[in-house]
Subunit: 274 residues, 2 copies
């Protein structure tokens, strides 16, 4: 296990201060994960371990974990939540999807709605999209002035520093799929009636901007992979590899946090139940 | 299955307009559920079916389900969430625990924080405690003027009518345990080190007020079991019976709602993915 998480770190971490070289990164992890059955089994074991660790995190009640999932359409953000967090169930895990901001959200600074959704002590928060949309879609589609977007990288870094300083560990995963894989997944949404509802014609508009999005992701990875909240780029063309990598990383992170059940300040004999 | 859900309805429903007769209700369901293995298997199947139905509810995107769990300390609210909703996972289920209100919440009317936590379209919301605390602990401990509490039953009924009129189905479960069962569960929290953190000395204060709580529950059941949002009293001394009953009821409710995947207003051939 230790060995694999080390390999996974090597394969996914964007070293703070270095270039992410996104375009050179693989969208499969065939070099470190070859046995699909074993990987699926390990992911399940890790999901169970995450459940146990979350229980201790809740009991401890002093810290939280924030898992940020970013990736273009069809990259598998929802599927990741299912695979990694369904063993925890909804009790200690809170998923927040960030879509187009509401009028009220737009009337505040871009981190306002993000901060409101930050996980409270004891909880694992999962963001399906996040503050990074404000330097991704917003940048690519020119939805805010360029100089405002430019300032956001440092603002995001400062915000994440604030969260980590206050007991929230921040894990950031970019689900990296190839353009060919996205084509197949979009086609499946067209071809398979039970997936039709997931298809949104506007996804094709974003697909035309593929290169612009890749470039915007690369800049975000370069500028916001920090020592306190590094980015991890997850090869995600194969869902089982993606799940195995993220489950192992979340488990390792929680194990390093090592949440402890609180010691009672009473003795059982202090009480008599009548 | 139809037969069992009918038996369950008979055993649990508080008929609107009739007395709940809480003190006469059984805290076990040995008359309708005898085979523990079969019941656990059925609960699992139902949990899986709830997952599939929730997916359709989300895709449909026009309605929601609100599941209210009420019950005294140790009655098993958290355990119910795990048993019934872990197959859905955190993606489409949002659990809101209601503890002691904050200063800001107290500065608003008692339904303000409840309304804010109402599930949005497509989501199953689960309340761990709810608006009913404002006619339970608040009544028993005299935390609000008696005449204000008195008005709340009708206000709650009107609020739930409003929710149902706007597409939210409301399911209300009172987890009914005996005083002896509570003693055992509290003792376990004292005796088993890994459960120590769940023990709160103030629970013993509430236990001393057992009869007052039972009476307050009875009044709430009598006055707030409505045609649009009836109460169900669930025999909960045996966790496996409790889980089986609630999972079957939630599944049946979702099946009756019959959420539909939306039909696309386009043909697959309208699009070419390049």
């Amino acid at each position: 296990m230790v060995k694999l998480t080390k390999l996974i770190d090597n394969a996914t971490l964007v070293t703070p201060g270095e270039k992410s070289l996104l375009s050179k990164r693989a969208t499969t992890a065939d070099d470190i994960l070859t046995d699909r059955d074993a990987a699926e089994e390990a992911a399940k074991d890790n999901a169970k371990a995450i459940d146990a660790l979350q229980d201790a995190l809740w009991a401890e009640g002093t810290r939280s974990l924030l898992v940020i999932l970013q990736g273009i359409d069809t990259s598998g953000k929802d599927g990741t939540v299912r695979a990694v967090f369904n063993h925890c169930g909804p009790l200690g895990v809170q998923v927040t999807p960030f879509g187009r901001p509401s009028e009220e959200e737009l009337a505040h600074d871009f981190l306002w709605r993000i901060h409101m959704a930050a996980p409270k002590k004891g909880v694992i928060g999962v963001f399906n999209r996040s503050q990074y949309e404000d330097v991704l879609v917003v940048k690519v589609r020119g939805l805010a002035p360029a100089d405002a977007v430019e300032r956001r990288y440092e603002q995001i870094n400062a915000f994440e520093q604030h969260l980590t300083d206050n007991g929230t560990t921040v894990l950031k995963f970019m689900l990296n799929i190839s353009k060919g894989e996205q084509a197949e997944r979009l086609q499946a949404r067209l071809d398979e009636p039970e997936k039709n509802w997931k298809f949104n014609p506007s996804d094709l508009e974003d697909r035309k901007l593929w290169d612009d999005y890749q470039r915007a992701y690369e800049i975000a990875l370069d500028r916001c992979s920090t020592a306190h909240a590094p980015w991890r780029v997850v090869p995600s063309d194969r869902k089982w590899q993606r799940n195995a990598i993220i489950a192992a990383t979340v488990r390792k992170t929680l194990e390093d946090m090592a949440p402890q059940y609180p010691k009672p300040d009473w003795k059982p004999s202090d009480f008599k139940i009548t």
